[in-house]
Symmetry: C2
Subunit: 78 residues, 2 copies
């Protein structure tokens, strides 16, 4: 069974690149990927923050945050 992986981004260039290289490239047999634009879905910011996300782009997999490079602080999206 595939595991849920949420990719949080904010439409920034660093985000778009990480989305292409990772969110679009993880093995679909391993991960069920949801892509969330926090600039558009501000109601999802709290859940990202609760999982430990400090900046975007980032994944949350199994409750753990994985920041990929640095695009924008989560605080800047509120």
């Amino acid at each position: 069974m595939s595991q849920k992986a949420v990719f949080y981004h904010a439409g920034c260039p660093v985000c778009a690149d990480a989305e292409r290289q990772f969110a679009d490239s993880l093995d679909p047999r391993k991960y069920d990927i949801e892509i969330v634009h926090l600039g558009q879905a501000k109601n999802r910011i709290a859940e990202a923050e609760a999982a430990g996300v400090k900046s975007v782009p980032a994944f949350v997999i199994g409750g753990h945050p994985y920041h990929i490079n640095f695009g924008a602080d989560l605080a800047a999206l509120k």
Copy 2:
């Protein structure tokens, strides 16, 4: 044709976790993944640095660095 993706790590817990979640989980149809332990292969540090890697764990894909969280500074591995 799959693209070359190099995953650099140093055996740290953050590295091992990132390896499991990403290096072992990228779609093998998209990426040809090489895993490099920079603590053991110090002769590869220069190439990682040249690609812009500042810390491990990190990927280099298409010449671009992708840092995942933070395990150790590259400088600490020299």
